[in-house]
């Protein structure tokens, strides 16, 4: 990873909101003031404090935190919708602080796509014109725009709605249009600001699946904001936990769940009780979906360790750790499901799936 330039890198990023921004910053740098001291002395709110991270090519990087934790502010630095008070953002190795207005616009139109929490589709434009907006401002002609927009809609299964308007669509469909708009310009980086939070749970799940599938096929570097640990575990290759503008911990879902950096993270991932409650049948995935995602031959599949459907999570974890492979769930001699380490983690973090 160190060898190639990461598509997105932030180094020592600070954002201070308030009239005394400059002065507050100086004291933060010189005297190492804390956020509370900054607020008391200057009346300035620290939105992002000293954020440093890198996102590798093709990676899905989740930023998780409660509302007000600064995650939306942080992500807006990456396409420079917000100007940092201090620190740098590198996109494909280039410091975008040094970009002029024209290059920034080009970056936003061609390199970075964004999906918003409340869809933010333009009500006076048809779906085609919503999706093609980024192409339009790049000066691409109407025929070409329409072609690309239709292809993108096709991917999201909304081609029949191409000339309709956003207000004619349900929330879930609108957000699919939001995603289509973000990927229409074929950007290498996707920013997703709580894209599924405003949707009801069933639709959310469906869109998460669709997004994961899409993400596997198009391979975009994605920064995904969420306030939902379950979602972060499901989607993220790595997760950054944010609180009060500070990134507390960055790690794989396993690392976050297994070894939380402090109490704050630990409270998020507390799933200890579930270990004794959940059983194999409630966390397993269907055999077909496992085999579709993991092409191994029948002999190898049958050789996987097996557990009983009623085995509790803590028992499965033991078996899975010993075997270091996915585990088959066998009922009456028949394989009814498979549990991967990710299924286990989801079982621990999902709030209410007691079985």
């Amino acid at each position: 990873m160190a060898a190639s330039t990461p598509p997105v890198a932030c180094s020592n990023l600070w954002k201070v909101f308030g009239t005394a921004e400059k002065e507050a910053l100086k004291h933060i740098v010189d005297d190492g003031l804390s956020k509370e001291e900054v607020f008391d002395r200057f009346g300035c709110v620290v939105g992002v404090a000293d954020a440093t991270f890198e996102v590798a090519a093709g990676e899905i990087f989740c930023i998780m935190g409660l509302s007000g934790s600064g995650k939306s502010t942080l992500v807006r630095h990456i396409n420079r919708l917000i100007k940092p008070s201090l620190g740098s953002v590198f996109i494909h190795g280039e410091d975008i602080n040094k970009f002029d207005e024209r290059r920034l616009r080009e970056l936003r139109a061609t390199t970075i796509g964004m999906v918003f929490q409340h869809m933010s589709l333009w009500p006076h434009r048809s779906l085609i014109d919503n999706i093609a907006f980024g192409l339009e401002v790049q000066g691409i002609g109407p025929k070409e725009r329409r072609k690309i927009a239709l292809e993108t809609l096709e991917m999201m299964g909304l081609v029949a709605w191409a000339d309709r308007y956003p207000d004619e669509l349900s929330g879930g469909m609108q957000q699919r249009v939001g995603i289509a708009r973000a990927i229409a310009g074929n950007p290498s980086i996707l920013l997703m600001d709580e894209p599924f939070s405003a949707l009801d749970p069933l639709i959310r799940r469906q869109l998460q699946d669709q997004f994961l599938e899409l993400s596997r096929s198009v391979k975009k570097t994605t920064i995904f904001i969420t306030h939902d640990l379950e979602e972060a575990v499901r989607i993220g290759d790595r997760i950054a936990i944010m609180n009060d503008g500070v990134i507390i911990q960055i790690g794989t879902p396993e690392e976050i769940v297994m070894s939380p950096a402090n109490d704050y993270v630990a409270r998020f991932v507390e799933g200890g009780a579930k270990l004794q409650v959940l059983s194999a049948k409630s966390v397993m995935q269907p055999v077909a979906s496992f085999r579709a995602a993991n092409p191994i031959d029948d002999a190898a599949f049958d050789a996987l360790t097996s557990v009983d459907p009623e085995t509790k999570l803590n028992g499965i974890i033991q078996v899975a750790l010993d075997a270091d492979t996915p585990v088959r769930v066998v009922d009456d001699g028949k394989t009814v499901g498979v549990i991967t380490s990710r299924d286990l983690l989801e079982g621990i973090t999902v709030p209410s799936r007691a079985g």
Binding site: L81, R105, R108, I112, W122, H124, Y165
Partner: protein, 310 residues
């Protein structure tokens, strides 16, 4: 002692003298500038007035009716037809056309000046802060007060009439443009910037279309205010319906005043309804494009159907 009892007897700001002095200065040194300002107004007003008063009334009636249908639908077409027919029947057609030319010219210049001012004050809070009291002044100062200076600088007739009307009718379009642009949801403008739009593209492609109902409401208010200015403006010998009313009052001719007054009301109803057609948002028009509705839409449909059947 006297002084303490009534200080205003001795202390006086000679505001009247100052005004006269400044005005005199302007008239003697800068009259050419104000005369030059007349030119563009004269140009548009002359053309419109010539067109509207020279064209045959029946032709105009048909054009107005079709225009109303195109812009605001069948119901408004019926209203406009009824209004203009009545204006003709009560014998106020020619005066109404002169007034219409004056009102249209005022609207044109009010929009041309007011909409950019509104955008500027939506963009900059400082500009807004300075412009607001000026607009307040323009709306509250009685129009009779600036009637005399305008005559001294611009002369009399229809062109100064339009200028007086612009001063009076400009504020609403500025205010409502400002409001409309400020009311565009922030997430929608942010999304446009996130996809690489420049400030100009943001304004043209996102903010203007979304603020259009509000801007058109402002234009509509401007229209109504310029119509209400018609009688006052006739005091500086602006012709048209206002002059009918003024002459009626002067001669105690109630009949003439009524014809003029009724003409103004009917003209106001017709223009108001048609201009509200512009203010409809896309959703209430079922997202139809302008060329898909009204008489043009009908013709288009017929032509396309014919092509298909051949």
């Amino acid at each position: 002692m006297e002084f303490i009892k009534d200080p205003f007897e001795h202390l006086r700001i000679p505001i009247g003298d100052w005004t006269e002095y400044v005005l005199q200065l302007l008239v003697t040194n800068f009259r050419w500038l104000f005369q030059a300002l007349r030119e563009p107004v004269d140009f548009v007003l002359g053309g419109l007035e010539g067109l509207l008063t020279q064209a045959p009334p029946l032709l105009l009636l048909v054009v107005f009716t079709l225009f109303a249908w195109q812009i605001a639908g069948v119901r408004v077409m019926a209203i406009a037809l009824a209004c203009f027919t009545t204006i003709g029947l009560i014998g106020a057609w020619e005066e109404a056309m002169t007034t219409l030319a004056i009102v249209l010219t005022s609207i044109l210049y009010c929009s041309a000046v007011g909409i950019p001012l509104g955008v500027a004050s939506a963009r900059s809070n400082t500009f807004d802060k300075w412009l607001r009291p000026v607009l307040d002044l323009m709306q509250t100062i009685p129009s009779f007060v600036y009637l005399v200076p305008v005559v001294m600088l611009f002369g009399i007739g229809n062109v100064p009439g339009v200028i007086v009307t612009i001063v009076y009718a400009l504020p609403p379009v500025v205010r409502l443009t400002n409001l409309g642009i400020r009311q565009v949801p922030k997430d929608l403008t942010e999304a446009a910037l996130a996809f690489g739009a420049s400030r100009g593209e943001l304004l043209r492609k996102i903010e203007f279309p979304l603020a259009m109902p509000s801007i058109m409401a402002g234009v509509n208010q401007t229209i109504m205010m310029s119509l209400s200015m018609v009688v006052v403006a006739s005091m500086i010998s602006v012709t048209g319906l206002g002059q009918m009313v003024l002459r009626g009052i002067g001669r105690l001719d109630v009949g003439l005043a009524t014809v003029g007054g009724l003409g103004i009301v009917l003209l106001a109803i017709a223009i108001d309804r048609v201009s509200q057609g512009f203010a409809q948002d896309a959703r209430s028009r079922n997202h139809l494009k302008w060329h898909e509705a009204g008489p043009i839409g009908l013709v288009r449909k017929l032509v396309i159907n014919k092509k298909h059947s051949e």
